[in-house]
Amino acid sequence: MRSHRFIMLLLAVLLLGAVAPMAVAQDTQTLTVSIWGFNLDVLEENVFAPFEEMHNVDIVLDTGNNSDRLARLLAEGENSTIDVVHFATQFTYLADQEGVLQPYDADKLENLDELYDWAQDPLGNLAGVGYTVNSLSLIYRSDLIEDEVTSWADLLRDDVAGYVCIPEMSTTFGPATLIMIDRALAMQELDEGEELGAINYDADAAWEALPQLADNLVTTYIRSSALTTLVQEEEVRLAPYASFAIGNLMNTGHDLTAVIPDEGAVGQTNMISITAATDKVDLAHAYIDWFISHDIQEAEALDLIDSPVNATVELPEDICALLTCGEMLDTMIVLDQAEVSARLEDWLERWNEVMVR
């Protein structure tokens, strides 16, 4: 009997230990937002803090890159605590295919009409709203690389060997980088006066050149912040970069030149979607509406964070030049996500086989 009491004591302590952490959870309303961990301090000031005040809600962040967060969302499925999720188009597409998103209700978004047409429903099935656009082009150390960089194929040049960094295949711009290199190689084959045809989604020429490119690499990057660090520490001199990273790259204090290569820049829309698991549908819509409103879009643009998709936002020319806006919106290349996604699984495997060596 005595030892019984001892055991009871033990169990009581155990129970207490197990329950205590749960008691810590607060009961004010929360909105869990899944987003990249990039520029969070600015987002907090521009977007989150005022929204929290307006709706008397706590925003909880789940940060990580696209695939990282998508993986978690898929793993948790209906048990997910995520309410709204920011993804690049390609990942919104994948998430939607797996059924973890719910369509938005256009009637609940007052600001939707102010957006460019292509941003209102980028996937054409109400899976999410485009809230910013960005583009992939090249940046290089103009003080250390003598010959001007003008083409995606310059990533293969011998004089930059050991100083190149490209996005990992699993990221938004991984497939895009390869497709653009392929386009550049095709352009070199052209005769005088010949026009470049449609995009070759198989990118055979680029795959053939990949081992050579791999030899030029310092490493691959998964996050733009990693690229910024590598540029700052002088490990990297030439890299494809996403336009939203330009502010951070320029802050490294090095002589960097951003170029739109001859073959063009790749445009890409980032989207906000509502998860199928959430029961805070109205709050989620309010969040999206807030993010696409004129004031937020302008504030984000002026801080060089997100290029606006709200057509009512007018930007000074010097700001516009650093973002994806103005004329660039008409000239940039937009890839067909269905074409890219159909090849992705196979590409990841081929990619790893080259990169692991």
């Binding site: 030892s3 019984h4 001892f6 055991i7 033990l10 169990l11 155990l14 695939s67 990282d68 998508l70 993986a71 978690r72 898929l74 793993a75 050991g162 990992e168 699993s170 690499l217 310092v218 490493t219 691959t220 990057y221 998964i222 520490e233 002088e234 490990e235 990841l348 495997e349 790893n352 086989e353 990169m355 692991v356 060596r357």
Partner: protein, 277 residues
């Protein structure tokens, strides 16, 4: 020993609570992991995951690279620790206590902090490169980060204490008389060391090697920081399969291979220890 009629009941009551917790929250997840590794997305039970693992050039290269680096790290740790451990074991107790607490220090600091230092040391503008440049050994800074060398250095620093500690405690038990006897019989220092000290401390060596090797082949932080997205080891491959490629089946296979590898090494070296006794 105390004997009581209801001893069995007492033992069960003492052990059961913790045992159930470990069973439910540790053993069960591992069994689930094992079942995940043999049930691919398409359904059914099959060992194809393991066949794929050893056939795919990617995972095969990663696995062999992991084992290779583990061996190199273990070797370096042995070479660095042996003579030093001997000095430590022969020291007056007070000084030894102080020096041993310095050995534990790295073990007690988190791996992120420890690995971070190597980025500063090995970077293109880091200490090593600045020294090489100023000595004009090289013209351009050399790339160390994201190389196997960087990972080996990081892991060695991480696990060196796990070799030093068991070696010192094994060598403490070698009586001074034995060493003096060997010397007086005409053996020189090296012979004494190789013929007496090494065999008599082999227990510590085997234990240390087990700890260092298994530590190296399963460490995550160091390869994640110093290897980057491209130079993968088993642990970073597991993470990649699980959260980036999102192939839980393949990730489970990698995880099980990691467990089996550590278990095999532990068993092998334990057998070695038993045989020596």
């Amino acid at each position: 020993m105390i004997r009581r009629p209801n001893q069995t009941r007492t033992i069960i009551l003492l052990v059961a609570p913790a045992f159930v917790v470990v069973l439910v929250f540790f053993v069960l997840p591992l069994i689930f992991l094992l079942s995940q590794s043999v049930t691919p997305k398409e359904g059914g039970y099959t060992l194809t995951g393991y066949v794929d693992f050893f056939q795919s050039p990617v995972s095969r290269i990663v696995y062999l690279r992991t084992l290779k680096l583990g061996l190199i790290v273990t070797g370096i740790c042995v070479l660095m620790s042996y003579p030093a451990a001997f000095v430590l074991a022969r020291m007056p107790a007070r000084r030894r206590t102080f020096l041993m607490s310095l050995v534990i220090l790295p073990l007690m600091t988190n791996a992120v902090a420890r690995t971070f230092a190597w980025l500063i040391i090995l970077g293109r503008r880091g200490m090593v490169n600045q020294t090489l440049l100023s000595l004009e050994v090289v013209e351009e800074p050399v790339r160390f980060i994201f190389t196997e060398t960087a990972i080996v250095l990081g892991l060695t620093q991480l696990f060196l204490p796990l070799m030093v500690l068991p070696l010192v405690s094994a060598m403490e038990n070698i009586p001074d008389d034995v060493l003096e006897a060997a010397r007086s019989l005409g053996a020189n220092r090296l012979t004494t060391f190789l013929r007496i000290v090494v065999p008599m401390s082999s227990d510590g060596l085997v234990l240390g090697a087990t700890l260092v090797f298994t530590g190296s082949v399963t460490a995550f932080v160091t390869p994640a920081i110093l290897g980057g997205a491209r130079l993968l080891l088993m642990s970073t491959l597991l993470r990649q399969e699980a959260v980036i490629v999102f192939d839980q089946h393949a990730a489970a296979v990698v995880a099980v291979v990691m467990i089996l590898t550590t278990l095999a090494v532990n068993l092998l070296l334990r057998l070695l220890r038993v045989r020596q006794v």
